[in-house]
């Protein structure tokens, strides 16, 4: 997969977000076995300890389960996955509103440009 690491956020946070999106978008399926920390770290060109910490965060979010014998897998709890997905959607929306308000747009104007844009992509 294509990894993008930018300058401002902690690297761990960026890895966690990108891996979480792989799971919520279905690129990694529920119950699927995940590549090892080393493999993913090499692929992303990051420190293995940082990748390890990203996995710990994903476990904390309930997206990844660690089995002593089978290694790491995506959770089979699809409800959990949908909930995280909803949170991600919410975050995108919040960010969009924040940016629009930053440009001085009020609610009605936002609605208007949004509907316009939706028409255009149809």
């Amino acid at each position: 997969m294509e990894w993008k690491i930018d300058e401002s956020l902690p690297i761990r946070t960026q890895l966690t977000e990108q891996l979480a999106s792989c799971i919520t978008s279905g690129k990694y399926k529920p119950g699927e076995r995940l590549p090892s920390v080393r493999e993913l770290a090499a692929e992303a060109g990051v420190n293995p300890n940082t990748m390890q910490r990203a996995f710990a965060e994903l476990e904390g979010m309930g997206l990844v389960v660690t089995n002593r014998t089978a290694g790491r897998k995506v959770t089979e709890d699809t409800e959990r996955i949908s909930r995280v997905r909803e949170e991600q959607v919410r975050n995108h929306i919040d960010k969009f509103f924040k940016n629009m308000r930053g440009l001085g747009y009020g609610t009605d104007e936002i609605k208007k440009v949004l509907l316009q844009a939706l028409e255009e992509v149809k």
């Binding site: 300058e7 902690p10 992303a44 060109g45």
Partner: protein, 250 residues
């Protein structure tokens, strides 16, 4: 409590009245990749040479797994010098033989695998190689040891970005989980992602030792950006601004 892998205490070194290192102290844990960062002349190579026992300190102590630099620590530390030290007439196979003779922890298998990945053959001669290829071969040799501490002096200094990528990947895939890599560089943006923590050296003193992610968390910017600010030099502003910034960071 387990002994620290590297313990440096109040290290001072001068060359003919000019202080290269001034009361440097820090410790390194196992299983880390650590960047030793600083502008030219900040003391990086001096520190590395002291760790490798190539220089002796004027004051202070160095302990590597509990022992001071000497014959024994050479078996623990795999060192990449800032200069090429292989004889030109050698072929890759001679180098492998030399490393096997010198170091009992050298893995021929690991070396051959990495060389194969680079399309370098055992019969290739050093003198026919490009500068970048020579550096890659040298790094392969150093990383093929199962050492406790890898000390790399500017491993990506003289190579193009594609080769840099190869070298950094070689480092992250080949250090073992209990060993530590200490690497000096001034090309921070290239190495930042592979580092656990960084040590900033300025005029022979450690001014910062912190994990990459906690710097990003606190500062909201990369280590590279912080470095550029701390070490920015303007004609009529020497050092003072840096000191002030450091106070803010610490």
């Amino acid at each position: 409590m387990e002994e620290k892998l590297l313990n440096i205490k109040s290290l001072t070194k001068s060359f003919g009245g000019k202080t290269a290192l001034k009361d440097v102290s820090f410790e390194l844990d196992r299983g880390r990749i650590v960047g030793l960062l600083g502008p030219n002349g900040s003391g990086k190579t001096t520190l590395i040479k002291l760790i490798n026992g190539l220089l002796s300190p004027d004051a202070g102590k160095i302990y590597i797994n509990g022992s001071q630099p000497g014959t024994y620590t050479k078996s623990l530390v795999s060192y990449l010098p800032d200069r090429m030290y292989f004889a030109d007439w050698m072929r890759v196979k001679d180098l492998i033989k030399m490393f096997e003779d010198f170091y009992s922890d050298f893995s021929r298998e690991k070396a051959l695998k990495m060389l194969h990945g680079l399309a370098i053959e055992e019969k290739d001669r050093i003198k026919n190689m490009s500068k970048g290829t020579k550096e890659k071969v040298q790094l392969v040799m150093v990383m093929s040891r199962e050492a406790m501490l890898y000390v790399l002096d500017e491993p990506i200094g003289g190579v193009d970005p594609a080769a840099r990528d190869f070298i950094l990947r070689t480092i992250i895939t080949n250090y073992s989980e209990n060993s530590t890599v200490l690497m000096s560089t001034h090309l921070i943006s290239d190495v930042e992602k592979i580092l656990d923590e960084v040590i900033f050296l300025k005029e022979g003193s450690v001014i910062l030792k912190e994990s990459v992610d906690s710097i990003r968390e606190k500062e909201g910017r990369s280590v590279d950006q912080l470095f550029r600010e701390l070490f920015s030099v303007t004609p009529n502003l020497t050092g003072e601004r840096g000191e002030e910034q450091i106070q803010n960071v610490l």
